[in-house]
């Protein structure tokens, strides 16, 4: 099972984990809101080396997720501490390793809150084949942004991109083992498959585009915008094409806490909700040079967001 279906282990690991939940729960620190405030710090879980969301520069945590974490810690009256997460095969693994159980190599290390956790009611209430709730150990709170898949392309090479059909003829870069990789290699019966170039990161895909190896890159909008800044010398542009047949083109992102720590969850949600409503979050993204889309969660509450 090395390379395994490990990608496939989506549910599976979680359902096993549920079986073990009772015995292992005691091993991890039980940092409730009170204990966090007594301790004077908040462990903010963020993905490592993941610009523009969260990354380290000269020992300092940078990125929008880090800055939002700082605002939350401030509001709780505690010090912000970064807790770096190496992503596992899928979100379920990350939640298990860093929120409610701990990784088996360091069982007592968990984050108090975890940033950039998709906020999706289907995922929240998903059940395994025995009917057990898969994510019952976690509560999902504070949706703070909506993220999208987008394409950035080289205008000199492609002129414009209105449909993805163009990539039957032109090479396009993706990050390995992501939805864009799967989508572009399978859609239209695999007709674009041979044009898809896989890279370890979006940054590497941009480097390849700068060298002319690919004419476009598909990834998350914020990641693309971040990399556009580093390649301002090239005529690169963001496309507005659709993605027919893609399983999910946009999704809300929020914060996860352990299910026993609901009071913490409510406090975090209060801070974030205020920031979404008063425009502070949009400002924060602007400061980072990124577009901001309000989570779709707020569409029902506040009415549809004005067009960007």
């Amino acid at each position: 099972m090395t390379f395994a279906f490990r990608v496939l282990l989506v549910l599976f690991a979680l359902s096993v984990a549920n079986v073990n939940a009772q015995e292992t729960r005691l091993l991890i620190p039980d940092r409730t809101l009170d204990i966090i405030q007594d301790s004077g710090f908040l462990n903010v879980g963020m993905y490592k080396d993941f610009p523009p969301y969260s990354y380290e520069e000269n020992g300092e945590a940078k990125g929008v997720d880090a800055d939002l974490g700082r605002r939350i810690a401030d509001a709780l009256g505690v010090e912000f501490r970064s807790y770096w997460i190496t992503p596992d095969e899928n979100l379920g693994d990350d939640l298990r390793n860093h929120i409610w159980k701990g990784h088996y190599l360091s069982k007592t290390r968990v984050a108090d809150i975890m940033m950039r956790v998709p906020y999706d009611s289907v995922f929240k209430y998903m059940r395994d084949s025995t009917g057990e709730m898969i994510n019952e150990q976690v509560v999902f709170v504070a949706p703070y942004q909506q993220e999208h898949w987008k394409i950035v392309f080289d205008e000199e090479k492609l002129g414009d991109v209105n449909t993805i059909a163009k990539f039957q003829y032109h090479p396009i870069g993706v990050e390995i083992d992501t939805l864009p990789a799967t989508y572009l290699t399978s859609t239209f019966g695999g007709q674009m498959r041979d044009q898809v170039n896989h890279y370890m990161t979006i940054t590497k895909a941009f480097d390849a585009m700068a060298k002319g190896d690919v004419s476009a890159v598909m990834g998350m909008r914020a990641e693309l915008e971040h990399n556009l800044k580093a390649h301002s010398d090239r005529p690169l542009a963001m496309a507005n094409n659709g993605f027919p047949g893609i399983t999910k083109q946009s999704w809300d992102v929020g914060i996860a806490v352990r299910h026993l720590h609901r009071a913490l969850g409510y406090s975090v949600e209060a801070v974030v909700d205020r920031m979404v409503r008063n425009g502070e979050l949009a400002e924060l993204y602007q400061q980072h040079g990124l577009s901001y889309s309000r989570p779709a969660y707020y569409d029902v509450i506040l009415g549809p967001e004005e067009a960007e």
């Binding site: 090395t2 279906f5 496939l8 088996y104 999706d120 390995i176 695999g190 370890m200 399983t247 999704w251």
Partner: protein, 591 residues
Amino acid sequence: MSSISIGKTFTASALALAVSFGAHAVTDQDLLNDHKTVDKIVTYGMGYQGQRYSPMTTLNTSNVNYLTPAWAFSFGGEKQRGQESQPLIEDGVMYVTASYSRIWAVDARTGEQIWQYDARLPDGIMPCCDVVNRGAAIYGDMVYFGTLDAKLVALNKKTGKVVWIKTVADYQEGYAITAAPIVVDGKLITGVSGGEFGIVGKVEAYDAKTGDLLWTRPTVEGHMGYVYKDGKKIESGISGGEAGKTWPGDMWKSGGAATWLGGTYDPETDTLFFGTGNPAPWNSHLRPGDNLFSASRVAIDPNDGSIKWHFQTTPNDGWDYDGVNELIPFDLKENGKTIKAAATADRNGFFYVLNREDGSFIRGFPFVDTISWAEGLDSKTGRPIFKEGGRPGNPADLDGEKGETVVAYPAFLGGKNWMPMAYSPDTELFYVPSNEWSMDIWNEPVSYKKGAAYLGAGFTIKPANDDFIGVLRAMDPKTGKEVWRQNNSAPLWGGAMTTAGGLVFTGTPEGFLKAFDAKTGEELWKFNTGSGVVGTPVTWEMDGEQYVSVASGWGGAVPLWGGEVARVVRDFNQGGMVWTFKLPQDRVSAK
């Protein structure tokens, strides 16, 4: 003049003395003869071939019931899980690795610790499949093992002090080492485990003395191999000739095929045999083609790392049937001829007998009760005949609903997983620790990865029968018949060993080390070690007595990925011990 000459003589003899006294250096001859000698075990596999057969008869079917504990040794600390190691024995010392990349030298007579070495593992390491280590290699005055952060460590075998450490691959890219390395002709040879997306399997040889890299051979078509001479890196041919023959687009660049279980060696043909893991990405619909050399056995020249031949067990794998399982060289005596054969029991449920000189297919047959994904094997080539509807669906075809469930036998953990089988030239049977289980696979309507929407499949692993999962089987490589079987409630996850005394040993997750009659399968002896046995037993002779040792400590992949199987194993306690038994001298002739 004469005084100088005397001085020279003296120096030379003193040197010779120092060598024979101090070091008991392990030689190439020791390694080559390991399967025949009884006073030492200096290879993983009790011989280069990995037959795990001991020619000893002191302990046999008539006296094994007197096998008695001699000593036990605790690995200590809190790292009580996943002891998949096979001990080595040399000059009265046991060298045994344990989980979390630890190794000990222990007095083989008393069980007293001589030294301990713990690899310092970096924070944030993410090995894919538990924290196991399967054993060490020994050569000259050094002992070697691989670590979870993908390094090779060479220690002075007397002191446990580090001689050199080399990074084989970057753990941050998802590489690790869990298998025992192998030494051939002064070269320390290792594969790699790959825990993340984007890896490419490889086999590498290092100078056992200095740790200098000698050659590297990628196991995915399209990647260049290299030999290193005088500090220069010289191209030595692209694996498979060129890129893109059996892979679409650029997928060969990250094709997987990790060589995570190490290899065997055949001195007669001077060939290494390494197995390779499954291809990436996991969704087989994205990579039409055979995807070489994933899920294959690859025959490699130990001198320069070139590929002599390959045999692929699962082309375009869609079930996670890694092809890593050990290929065991053996002499197949058939129709008055002796064929240089080799055999392997694959994760995919088929047992293969190959000609080890050229990799040609001799025969293949199921060794598990049910195989759902293939009708059988092509009788000429051994290529599987895929069954319609047996392949998991393409998640890209999903329309927002949970995809259709495909039931696959065996489960991805395999008809046989990592645990090595044994071959007895006496009975001419293979003893295969195997499992009967299936998996349900379906495409998930929602999944996420690293903050982004993703396409994943969900699955659950299920016992194929109500009352057992594990089966220890005696398989006849000539007829494909199962000669005997012993069912076990929990899945078997430990290696097998057989002896000229007519015995087969293996452990169970329930905690027992067991001995069976090699001819009939009758259970003759068992001992509860206190935790699940997922290690591989060995036997040797010391001071005229026959000893048996096995590591004990439940763990490995089953408790991590057990699905419904978890219910069978959830109450097993973890551990970390090595148990040593002997047949007391006064019992040798007992009936």
